[in-house]
Symmetry: C2
Subunit: 261 residues, 2 copies
């Protein structure tokens, strides 16, 4: 454990690196967090930033159940596990995975949550998100929505195009993008705020019908649902999330730009 630094005034900060999903949309034989990006497992990219951040005392990896040992071995092989406190098993949903990680961070004053599928987190984003959380109790990296949004009410597979491609034909309506922000991670919270938000969400889910409970959300959404404010930290267009195989190709481009810069 590193000594407290002046910038964080002695606060104990634990980060959760969330890699608990099965990567269903990603496909492939290899779990998404282990695919190589720039020759290095995906999970090791964000881990390297958390492991080196002076504001973070220790961090916890949340891995899919059964992959804890392999996750630890991958992080150690990449030499990014110097402040790794534990690898804990994730749950069936992202929210469950964060909850499981939170149990292993009970002593923290502040918790930073980051998705391992966002490899391009930076020291700047970590620092600014924590600084905002120290002031406001909760903070998330976010970008204003620039494109017009459309909500699809009904979709049909239309006649195939001349190229043979099948077209999705939809009815729906434009969504007003004013005051809409696209939320990324990292996010950071006073630990008691994040715990209260998760406890409330779990209580609501236990009472609700399965369909209503299915509307899972990110941690900043749970805190907002608690009626608490969240600080927005200007995000980066480069801080992309690897969801589809195509995203990995974009990420290779971004990585190349970074290495040239």
């Amino acid at each position: 454990m590193s000594a407290p630094r002046e910038a964080r005034a002695g606060k104990r900060v634990v980060a959760l690196l969330v890699a608990g999903g099965q990567g269903a949309r990603f496909g492939g034989a290899e779990p998404k967090q282990f695919v190589l990006l720039g020759g290095r497992p995906l999970v090791a990219h964000a881990a390297a930033v958390l492991d080196a951040a002076p504001e973070i005392d220790e961090w916890i990896a949340v891995a899919p159940a059964g992959l804890e040992a392999r996750t630890r071995a991958v992080l150690q092989a990449a030499d990014v596990a110097h402040r790794l406190r534990a690898v804990v098993a994730g749950g069936a949903t992202r929210q469950e995975s964060v909850w499981n990680g939170l149990q292993a961070a009970a002593d923290a004053e502040y918790v930073l949550v980051h998705d391992a599928a966002r490899p391009f987190v930076t020291a700047r984003l970590v620092r600014d998100t924590l600084a905002a959380a120290w002031r406001a109790g909760a903070a998330t990296v976010a970008l204003p929505v620039a494109d017009t949004l459309l909500r699809v009410d009904k979709s049909d597979v239309g006649p195939s195009a001349p190229t043979g491609e099948v077209v999705m034909v939809v009815s729906g309506a434009r969504v007003d993008r004013d005051r809409l922000w696209s939320v990324q991670t990292p996010q950071a919270f006073a630990t008691d705020v994040l715990r209260a938000a998760h406890e409330r969400a779990r209580a609501v889910a236990a009472d609700a019908a399965p369909a209503a409970a299915a509307g899972a959300t990110d941690d900043s959404g749970l805190v907002l649902a608690l009626g608490r404010d969240v600080a927005l930290v200007p995000g980066s267009w480069w801080n992309i999330k690897i969801t589809e195989p195509e995203d990995l190709r974009r990420a290779e481009h971004v990585l190349r730009l970074q290495s040239e810069a």
Copy 2:
């Protein structure tokens, strides 16, 4: 005018390149469409793709009122005005600008609408969007929304961070991103469908209070509001819109990747 080609079965296609805005968010002394990207005026990038597309017979540039002559000169200097039918003056809103362009395309069977602020439109996007419009009557390039969205109900400028940066602290709620698509251009329409959509929007705006009329939308949104279906054409992450000065820097990166590929 080029001869009809087999792929479009003789349909007369006119494209509108919309560069009618004042670029208020972009700032700077030079109108946004004339700033250089890769040493070439922004407006010339998309113009080059429209001018070379075999599916497009002619195209019309919509320029800010007063900048028509300069726009034409810039396009001719860039040698991307071979099929330029006219340069028409834009209106106070994007919707007005498209409407003005549409008046000069009355003879077209299909109209393709593209924002000049999206320089990375490709021949593939133009072809697929038109092919989808031929089948469905209306089509737009779109991408599924991958990030969590937050709607801000109330925002305050919070206490400044230690770095001196001012943080926006918000209350609001998560927006369900299921079935949400982020809409780009190009978009393409049977001309009578696009005209009917604009005529309805203009009639609604004339009846409504100014506040209600302010909710301007893109053309696919107007067509959906007409109760008509729209085909979605898979877009590209690279097809970014230049809105802020930072976007121009990203665009320079993208351009460099393209030139290397």
